[in-house]
């Protein structure tokens, strides 16, 4: 298949712009990133700078990749990262617009790669438990009811890719922060620091320059792991409790 790619090219200090490239004879079995690899090979062969994009596992579990394809974070496939989106999802002759996450908290490093240090700072400020965990405990030593275990697990599936921030009209990191606050806050090991955690992580999130939640639901719709908006409501409740406790 042949495609026309409109790709955002930008180096750190310059204003970016869209450049158009032709991708010829793309295999429908290729993943989206493999397609870009082929385009980059050609660009390098012609002595041009390859398109820079972040990637690591290419299995949809590390959270490194991500950009917008035709105005949708991680492209048209729901519940799927862009690395796991395959070219058979597109048609011959399609024109694809490829753009990096846009948020003041995620400055562009180059082309499609953005700096997501802000997420690491949010995690550093409370995404941990300060209890001696030792080796994995026996399943029966600390009872966790099935509902809480499932709920905590669903929150923990967040891979921190940043699609929620990218899709949010306010560039808010509420879904990411809520998932991280909730997956520890719903388990017994996370109770000790439950309220310090939410207060601290929300503070860090706002200092990083992310926006506020308008409950549009765009984040949930593009999340490759389907993390639910309900975690945001839960985080709001926990934050009110934390503030009532003077944290």
């Amino acid at each position: 298949m042949n495609l026309t790619l409109k790709v955002w090219r930008q180096s750190t200090d310059s204003d970016g712009r869209f450049e158009t490239y032709e991708a010829k004879d793309v295999s429908t079995d290729a993943s989206f990133l493999e397609m870009l690899d082929v385009v980059n090979d050609k660009l390098e062969g012609e002595g041009q700078e390859p398109i820079v994009f972040d990637h690591d596992c290419r299995e949809g579990i590390c959270g490194a990749c991500g950009f917008l394809v035709n105005g949708v974070a991680h492209g048209p496939e729901t519940g799927t990262t862009i690395c796991q989106t395959h070219m058979r999802r597109f048609s011959d002759g399609d024109s694809l617009t490829i753009e990096p996450w846009r948020a003041s908290a995620f400055p562009v490093i180059k082309d499609l790669m953005v700096d997501r240090t802000a997420f690491d700072k949010i995690i550093e400020s409370g995404g941990y438990v300060s209890v001696r965990t030792g080796a994995a405990p026996d399943a029966h030593t600390m009872p966790v009811n099935k509902h809480d275990a499932d709920d905590a697990f669903n929150a923990a599936t967040c891979i921190g890719c940043g699609a929620c921030v990218a899709a949010c009209p306010n560039a808010a990191a509420m879904l990411f922060t809520a998932a991280k606050v909730s997956h520890l806050g719903m388990l017994p090991q996370g109770q000790v620091e439950r309220y310090e955690r939410v207060a601290s992580m929300v503070d860090t999130m706002e200092e990083a320059g992310f926006g506020a939640c308008s409950n549009h639901g765009e984040c949930e719709a593009v999340c490759p792991k389907g993390v639910s908006l309900n975690y945001i409501a839960r985080m709001n409740r926990d934050l009110v409790m934390a503030k009532l406790k003077g944290l």
Binding site: N170, C213, V240
Partner: protein, 254 residues
């Protein structure tokens, strides 16, 4: 109160204020709409209701002061949040396709501005009588007591004249804005307040949609049916019925 200022410093706290003040204004709107519908029961009922509201000073002023506090807080937090959000996304995408947001959710701030201007006009029109000063002089004889002619005022406000048609169009447009604002607002308020439960989550959007629809229909009925002449006809029918009732009672007594 330091916990509160501390909470308000975060965007989640601001959203909480948006939600609480929004729900207060929403609650008022539901009450206002229900009261409006009494107009279809004729001038006795409607003018009696209007006089009772104006006569109940504690209720009147508690409501007014609550709203006078709720509106500025709602607007002030909206502006603060809008500025925060604009700063978080300084450059727009070349292409962006909405996946879940609605026209209602994306137009909250614009709908809010439209409603603010409408509410100011509405108060100048029907409450302060500045827009149509002849409203102030209207009186009605309610069982021998002189009360304000609120029923006649509405008939004049939405009369089939140039001014009346302008008002009907203006009020209907504002009610469409209200409907859109309420649809996202009510659901969003529940989310901001952390009111969620797996069993009722799906219900929240439906409840918001139902309220938005009921408010649209309930508020639009007044101007639409008044300019169509239905309000006047209904009023006359009810008045005649009660006069007949009085006649029958009198006959029975004779």
């Amino acid at each position: 109160m330091s916990w509160f200022t501390n909470l308000y410093a975060s965007s989640i706290g601001k959203k909480l204020i948006m939600a609480l003040t929004g729900l207060i204004i929403f609650g008022f709107a539901v009450g206002h709409m229900s009261g409006n519908l009494l107009i279809f029961l004729g001038p006795d009922v409607f003018n009696g209701y209007a006089a009772a509201l104006k006569g109940n000073l504690p209720l009147l002023w508690v409501t007014r002061l609550t709203l006078l506090a709720a509106f500025p807080l709602h607007i002030f937090s909206a502006i603060q949040l809008k500025r925060l959000n604009a700063a978080a996304r300084p450059s727009n995408y070349g292409e962006w396709q909405p996946q879940a947001s609605t026209r209602s959710s994306r137009t909250m701030i614009y709908g809010g501005v439209v409603l603010l201007f409408f509410i100011v006009y509405h108060i100048l029109h029907f409450t302060l009588h500045i827009q149509q000063p002849e409203f102030a002089a209207l009186t009605y004889n309610l069982d021998g007591e002189q009360v304000h002619g609120a029923f006649e005022m509405v008939l004049m406000g939405f009369a089939p004249t140039g001014m009346g048609i302008f008002h009907v169009v203006l009020y209907l447009a504002a009610m469409v804005a209200l409907c859109l604002h309420i649809y996202h607002g009510v659901w969003s308020a529940m989310q901001s307040l952390g009111l969620n439960h797996p069993k009722y989550n799906d219900l929240r959007k439906r409840v918001a949609a139902a309220f938005a629809f009921v408010l649209l229909i309930g508020f639009s009925a007044g101007p639409l049916l008044t300019i169509a002449g239905v309000t006047k006809a209904a009023g006359e029918a009810f008045t005649k019925q009660s006069v007949d009732q009085v006649d029958t009672d009198a006959t029975v007594r004779r």
